[in-house]
């Protein structure tokens, strides 16, 4: 169980490495699945993000914190259907 030598971590060629920050991931997820509208139509991003997160957490049966917490981020990274949750 003990590694005789330090673990090398490499970046594999061709791997779609997502270098999005958590916030960028959240914004694209909320927009893609209909919880927010495109940027041009929102007045204050912070307020709408909280509302959108709460809406997503309600729709997906998560704890409604309005925050980008660990379980919400894990849900955003989980495999799922591509049809939006809200709207057309």
């Amino acid at each position: 169980p003990l590694h005789s030598r330090p673990q090398a971590v490499i970046t594999f060629p061709g791997e779609l490495v997502s270098n999005l920050t958590d916030l960028q991931l959240a914004e694209s997820y909320l927009l893609r699945f209909g919880y927010t509208e495109s940027e041009g139509q929102t007045r204050s991003r912070q307020v709408s993000m909280g509302k959108a997160l709460r809406r997503m957490q309600k729709q997906l049966g998560l704890e409604e914190t309005g925050e980008l917490d660990a379980s919400t981020l894990a849900t955003m990274r989980a495999p799922r259907c591509g049809v939006p949750d809200v709207g057309r």
């Binding site: 673990q7 594999f12 061709g14 779609l16 997906l60 495999p79 799922r80 259907c81 049809v83």
Partner: protein
């Protein structure tokens, strides 16, 4: 539950669907079975019916694709988005698309459906024991030709049941080569290839030529995935190469070394350090059945549900004993009503082609290497009906389990499928393994027999593949393999070879005949048919033709084709498709209940 804005729904209940292409991860029959069961989830609780079309425009068009695949809603590589579907309507509406960068299984790991051998198409059983050693992948041990095989039971040493694993050396799928295997090396754009390639394609599907030169012959097929094919990485679909070298170390199995996420990967050449070719090793994958059932919910008009256990909940999770959630049932019955129909008829899809040539020539992986059947195989057909593959692992979907083989000599109603069916002197005759039964159209439900074929037509063998009575001369034509006999009353001519009729070697046997006016009879074999001129006893020029071109909507390689009461009948397994002279499929049903009128 939620429906789409405006309660979008279909305005008819007899829906059609069509599978446009296939994923290399699963055998086509496994994919078709998964889709059929996914539709059955919804038809079990509504008046909806789903009929699969082989061509033309269907209500629900199903396809696999990667990244941008033509609808403006790109997929995103492995994991993440798995599939999507459009609400009911015309054109792309109602269609369902599946991301082929995913690893499609039945939810519990790779499904390797075998072909040939003596396992009748069963799936590999991993691990299995061979010569005392345990294997969890397909192997070529015991063979000198390098073909990969596996046992379909835990222990080959005791059970001796095996099959060959998917490999481009055995067959290809889709393309334009009718499943022919790859030819290596082949020439493509002047370059020689001795393995499958994605060159020339933007969708990443691996293909090969099925002749020595694609440049010249333009014949190709897609390569089925080996069981060790990698997913993603930079060589999707290529098999792992073991051992491989990584950072100077040698690995003979998949490893998570070099990664923080713990995902297993392997190199697809012997040296990752120099070649940098890699991909993820097969994992549990995603259940095509569960994802399809969800997407077909969208195709029928259901939107995402917020009930975590509902099928229409948007996140994927594998469920072993799947049952539709009450929330889903209320949703779909809100749209289509709750009338519950009889389900049995819905087992209408061809599962496993029952005419797969089984060699059964003893234990394969020994020094004596048995033949692989090629197109000219003249081995007499295996007369037992192969058992259906046990695909229930993972989804625990009840499969019909009839005792097989059942002794057909006594009860026609117990016969799974007949060797041949034809009308003689106004009575339908059913042939099976040396026996035949008669059922009169006028006296429905009365079956006479069994009679011995040899007692009535002494010259005939036990296995009759097809038979018909000439409308003008009342002569009887019988076919078995590539031989045929002609009875005029009690006198017989034959056997003669069907090449005398002008039928080429591609016809291993005649599976049925349709009498047409003006002294013509159509003879069917595989997916083609010939037109025989009865006067000159020769097939007309311009044949064979593809059955699908004329008789769209019937199974392509029916094992019985006959004319009865003016309608064309095509039989596959236990079912029949009845077509009008205007080439419209007007009915699909059970041979046993509708034609034999069994109780």
């Amino acid at each position: 539950f939620l429906t789409f804005e405006g309660d979008l729904k279909w305005d008819h209940s007899d829906l059609t669907y069509r599978v446009l292409n296939y994923s290399p991860d699963l055998d086509a029959s496994v994919i078709e079975d998964a889709f059929a069961r996914a539709f059955k989830v919804w038809s079990d609780v509504t008046p909806l019916t789903f009929t699969r079309l082989q061509s033309g425009e269907a209500d629900i068009m199903i396809q696999f694709g990667t990244q941008e695949h033509g609808d403006g809603y790109p997929f995103d590589g492995k994991d993440g988005l798995l599939a999507h579907a459009f609400p009911p309507g015309k054109g792309v509406q109602g269609d369902a698309h599946f991301d082929d960068d995913e690893f499609w299984t039945l939810g519990t790991g790779i499904v390797v459906k075998t072909s040939y051998g003596n396992a009748n198409g069963a799936a590999c059983h991993f691990p299995f024991t061979f010569e005392g050693q345990s294997y969890s992948t397909c192997i070529s041990e015991g063979r000198s030709d390098g073909l990969l095989w596996c046992a379909t039971t835990p222990n080959y040493d005791t059970d001796k049941v095996y099959g060959f694993c998917p490999s481009e050396l055995l067959y290809t799928y889709d393309g334009n080569s009718d499943g022919a295997k790859c030819v290596f090396p082949f020439i493509f754009e002047g370059k020689s290839y001795d393995a499958c390639t994605t060159d020339g394609r933007s969708d990443g599907y691996r293909w090969c030529a099925t002749t020595a030169s694609f440049d010249q012959d333009k014949k190709y097929g897609f390569c089925p995935n080996r069981d060790t094919a990698v997913i993603g990485g930079n060589s999707q679909g290529d098999p792992c190469v073991f051992p491989f070298t990584f950072l100077g170390q040698t690995y003979s199995a998949c490893t998570s070394e070099g990664r923080q996420d713990g995902k297993l990967w392997c190199a697809t050449t012997s040296n990752y350090d120099t070649d940098h070719k890699w991909g993820f090793c097969p994992d549990q994958g995603y259940s095509l059945f569960l994802v399809a059932a969800h997407e077909f919910g969208h195709s029928l008009g259901l939107d995402h549900s917020s009930v975590r256990d509902a099928l229409m909940y948007p996140m994927y999770s594998y469920i072993k004993d799947f049952h539709l959630h009450p929330d889903d049932v209320s949703g779909i019955q809100f749209l289509y009503g709750e009338q519950v129909r009889w389900a049995p008829l819905l087992w209408l899809w061809p599962h496993v082609p029952s005419c797969l040539p089984g060699r059964g020539s003893g234990p394969v992986p020994t020094a004596q290497v048995p033949d692989i059947p090629d197109q000219t195989s003249t081995q007499a057909e295996d007369t037992t009906t192969p058992a259906e593959p046990d695909l229930a692992t993972g989804d625990d979907y009840p499969m019909p389990t009839e005792p097989s083989p059942v002794d057909p000599s006594s009860d026609a109603c117990k016969v799974n499928s007949f060797d041949a069916i034809t009308e003689i002197n106004g009575e339908l005759h059913f042939f099976k393994s040396g026996n035949y039964w008669k059922s009169s159209g006028s006296r429905k439900g009365t079956i006479q027999g069994p009679f011995r074929i040899s007692a009535t037509w002494p010259a005939l063998p036990a296995l009759i593949n097809a038979a018909f009575q000439d409308v003008l001369t009342k002569k009887l034509f019988f076919f078995s393999g590539r031989r045929f006999w002609v009875y005029t009353g009690s006198s017989v001519v034959g056997p003669r070879g069907i090449e005398k009729l002008g039928i080429g070697k591609e016809a291993e046997r005649i599976s049925g005949a349709l009498q047409r006016g003006r002294g013509k009879v159509l003879l069917f074999s595989g997916e083609k048919y010939w037109r025989l001129d009865m006067k000159v006893q020769k097939v007309d020029k311009g044949y064979p033709r593809l059955t699908d071109d004329t008789f769209a909507g019937v199974p392509l390689n029916a094992h019985d084709v006959f004319l009865y009461q003016g309608k064309y009948h095509f039989c596959q397994d236990r079912f029949y498709w009845r077509m009008t002279p205007r080439y419209q499929v007007e009915r699909v049903g059970y041979v046993k209940y509708d034609i034999l009128n069994c109780p």
